[in-house]
């Protein structure tokens, strides 16, 4: 019994120690790192056009098609932000929650999520003949008690590939007015 209690104490102090870590700090998060530049490459595509506005309009339409609402835009600066709220229920987490409840531990499962998109466009290449589009996605997850549980960048390359494939298709369609 005594040993059990000691293990519990060690585990708890370990958890408390870990809980002190913040994922974002002013000291670390205003410095560029090579990883950040690698992200930029993954999230950027170039398009052969001089019409930056048209690309931005197509991005807005594409985001709308995928269920996003536009939050902020400034055409002169080539920016667009959008978000959508979706269900974040995960069956595995509910299973853990139910098992936990029997053991007297409550781990509230995920319930809602806000997904955010941030698009920027800019002229690149010789005399600005190309337009580079960069998109970043992230999500904010809340649990069943409406507490903020997780904020994470969505870094799966597949998401970005899929976005740019759709964007190319939409641009092609617009150009040819099919």
């Amino acid at each position: 019994m005594n040993r059990h209690r000691r293990i519990c104490t060690i585990l708890l102090s370990g958890l408390l120690f870990l809980a002190g870590c913040a994922a974002v700090t002013p000291e670390a998060d205003l410095t560029l790192t090579p990883e950040m530049l690698a992200q930029r490459q993954l999230q950027t595509r170039r398009f052969e056009t001089t019409d930056e506005q048209k690309i931005l309009k197509t991005c807005a339409a594409l985001l709308q098609d995928t269920g996003f609402n536009i939050d902020e835009s400034e055409t002169k600066l080539g920016i667009l932000t959008a978000s959508k709220e979706r269900d974040a229920t995960d069956a595995a987490q509910w299973a853990v929650f139910i098992v936990g409840a029997f053991l007297g531990v409550t781990i509230p499962p995920d319930k809602d999520q806000i997904m955010k998109a941030f698009v920027t466009t800019r002229h690149v290449g010789e005399s600005g003949r190309q337009v580079a589009v960069r998109v970043v996605f992230e999500r904010v997850v809340f649990d069943t008690e409406h507490r903020l549980k997780k904020i994470e960048a969505l870094n799966d390359p597949k998401i970005y590939q899929s976005f740019f494939e759709k964007l190319s298709k939409a641009l092609f369609l617009e150009a040819h007015e099919l």
């Binding site: 998060d29 410095t31 560029l32 992200q39 920027t120």
Partner: protein, 151 residues
């Protein structure tokens, strides 16, 4: 009987205390300034040798995007960009924390632009010079220009 009197006396004492507590507020933080204003302004500002407001604002936005920030507001006319970066996963024992930053651009003399950034972290201002230095270094690289310290 004696007990009752004591009770009422205590109650009477409590009333002025409650009244006093009602006078205490925390709204004096609305216009608070922790460090001297001039010093903080110098930490948060840099001058750039350019008059191209659009290019400067685009560089600010690109830098913030590189740093993993999400844009909250941007207004070309006002020269304001506001962004925030939140990360954390409570399941991995990380406290979800958010760093917010507002950057403004305005002309400084005939040939320069003044860029001022102010950051907020976990319900408090960032007054340490180092984070601002890092930000302006990153911004300088994006603009291919040197960030000048101003007094």
């Amino acid at each position: 009987m004696n007990f009752d009197r004591l009770f009422y006396r205590k109650l009477l004492l409590l009333i002025p205390l409650l009244l006093l507590a009602a006078c205490m507020t925390t709204h004096d933080r609305l216009l608070d300034m922790d460090t001297s204003q001039v010093q903080l302004r110098s930490i948060q500002s840099r001058a750039f040798d350019t008059t191209d407001k659009e290019k400067t604002m685009r560089a600010i936005i690109a830098t913030l995007q590189d740093l993993g920030f999400m844009l909250d507001r941007a207004d070309y006319t006002l020269g304001v960009v506001a962004a925030s970066k939140g990360r954390g996963d409570s399941m991995q024992m990380q406290v979800p924390a958010t760093l917010r930053i507002t950057v403004t651009v305005r002309p400084r003399g005939e040939k320069q632009l003044m860029v001022r950034a102010n950051a907020e972290y976990q319900r408090g201002p960032v007054t340490d010079p180092k984070p601002y230095q890092n930000f302006f270094n990153s911004l300088g690289k994006a603009m291919f220009l040197e960030a000048h310290q101003v007094d």
